[in-house]
Symmetry: C2
Subunit: 352 residues, 2 copies
């Protein structure tokens, strides 16, 4: 039974029609008489032919129906972040009408590591690529992709001149949160940032630190626009547990304890609140906490974070739309989303 699988020509022959006719029956691009159609279908059934081979079709059409999504770091942890999940939902939704599905890819590993056989932006049969953030390594492999005329979009990152971006007003938004705290009279404020890099070290930021992640840098800048001297502590990861650890560190010393914490994500904020509770601090009476993202935090009730709501799903959809435009040879446009300030019950006026 190592016999060759049936092709559309086999089917056509069996049905007594031309291959092109059989093709048309399957693609439906051209009207076909009912008689021919059923002849062909019958022959296909007979031969166990289940439709055109997608590989061949994709060569012929020049489209594979696959859009790559490139993450930094391990895939599993990419989905730890609720914002990413929503973004993926939006993206899925937006590429579906293009007849496309999402191929998960990650950052090309640095030279040293086992450069396995894993597929990459350049070896996978993709129609377009969406980058989630853009590390320097990634940036280099981009050229080849663009040289091929494959549309690329970057979400929350900077991939250089030719690449349209979907971004957030991170700095302005974070500044608004800071202003809100300022308005409440807070003066001793600490910022808890997203993870600095892949090493995911949890520690106080130093002046000398060069922050490479755009989101982190921009949100930090926004907070510092209002509180130029606020110390910042980098969490190990944007999770509740990461926030709790950061919270413990930040709130440890009663002498230097801040009256408000600006967290760069809702999950971090949730963790910080938990750390505060551990220490017997009441939120918001003893400590105000702001988040960022505006996602539902599983298990945070009864708190409702004061936070910046970002349109995560819309970001994904927008990326899809940009790709659709580029695939269509229309001019892509970068897009900047604006966060909405949402007042919750985790911030209050500073008590004297």
């Amino acid at each position: 039974m190592t016999t060759r699988r049936a092709t559309i020509s086999d089917v056509a022959r069996a049905a007594g029609v031309a291959p092109s006719t059989a093709s048309v029956v399957f693609s439906g691009k051209t009207p076909v008489s009912q008689a021919t159609r059923s002849k062909v279908l019958a022959a296909a059934e007979e031969l166990g032919y289940t439709g055109p081979d997608p590989r061949a079709a994709s060569l012929r059409r020049g489209r594979s129906g696959i859009v790559a999504v490139v993450f930094e770091g391990p895939l599993g942890s990419a989905f730890l972040d609720p914002v990413q999940r929503l973004m993926m939902d939006g993206l899925t939704e937006a590429v579906a009408p293009l007849g496309a599905g999402l191929l998960l890819l990650h950052d090309p590993v640095e030279a040293g590591e086992a450069s396995s056989e894993a597929p990459t932006l350049t070896t996978a049969p993709i129609d377009a690529a969406v980058l989630i953030g853009c590390s320097p390594v990634l940036r280099s492999s981009l050229e080849a992709v663009q040289a091929r005329g494959i549309p690329v979009v970057v979400i929350e990152g900077d991939a250089g001149e030719g690449v349209p971006r979907i971004a957030l007003d991170n700095r302005e938004a974070q500044r608004r949160a800071a202003e809100h705290l300022q308005g409440l009279g807070h003066e001793r404020v600490v910022i808890v940032t997203l993870a600095l890099d892949k090493r995911r070290e949890s520690r106080w930021l130093r002046g000398s630190d060069d922050i490479t992640v755009d989101v982190t840098r921009d949100r930090l800048a926004g907070a510092r626009d209002v509180y130029p001297d606020a110390p910042a502590f980098a969490a190990s990861s944007s999770t509740i547990d990461g926030g709790t650890a950061a919270g413990r560190a930040v709130l440890a010393d009663p002498a230097t304890r801040p009256t408000a914490v600006i967290a760069q994500s809702d999950l971090l904020a949730a963790g910080i609140i938990r750390a505060a509770e551990e220490l017997g601090l009441r939120v918001p009476e003893d400590l105000s906490v702001t988040g960022f993202d505006g996602i539902p935090v599983d298990g945070l009730a009864p708190y409702e974070l004061t936070t910046l709501v970002q349109a995560a799903t819309a970001k994904g959809r927008a990326a899809g739309a940009v790709i659709a435009a580029m695939l269509d040879e229309r001019e892509p446009t970068s897009l900047m989303f604006t966060c909405e300030f949402r007042l919750g019950n985790t911030t209050a006026a500073v008590t004297t």
Copy 2:
């Protein structure tokens, strides 16, 4: 500039070699003299050729380097579940050596819904498919895939005879948890199950309910092996919040309140614990709670769930291995993983 993109033949011509030679330079499958190699590379550089077109290569090779992962329901919510995330990590890891990446697909929508252009198992250029669970709808589209000789594996589901399965000893494992509670003297026990179906209705199970999800059914059976009459409440989703809601319902009435709750997932267990706390119940003194999965629950500390630890990552890896075997024309074997009982601090002897 609508000029055709350079092909490998163009490069070969420019370099003054045969196309096959140029091909070999890029694939590295055959030794090539240093001189030829650099001639070819130079020509490629010159023409802006960045390597073979993956679409053409995949037609020629008969491999696309793409493995489909089919989820039930929206993608974003698939990743809500930490177990799925770990599984995906394992899968990613296991298919990388195959030179493959993962294409996200979801259940074919039922006839009614907008049957968009979205790619499907049959239209995407895939080398293999991994099903996460197996709904009846899905089962039907499987035939076509298998007819093409595309390897298929199902994780936690039953896709019929020819499809190898990666599964868990759900029933036995859950039974062990129940026996543990029984050993502690618990008699009034309630089971909180995973969501029943897509409607995600939160409610008490009725005898007439026909549970279609294998995992849910098997775990329930395991619990009922020990507590045949234990009432069961279906949560709306396997989340902390879903567990909290279920917990409130289940613990509401002091008269009928159970002394132990068997939750079908760790997240549910975490939520139930939270609900118990709300009601002023102490865990484990007033209420014992068992989970299932053995995943780290973000923000659950200081509790450590008594739970069944499943090797989520290993499941993914196993699925990858099975696929590798099938792609290699070796005989695939179904695999059953065994959960390990882990004693935490959320169960205790019933107090009289």
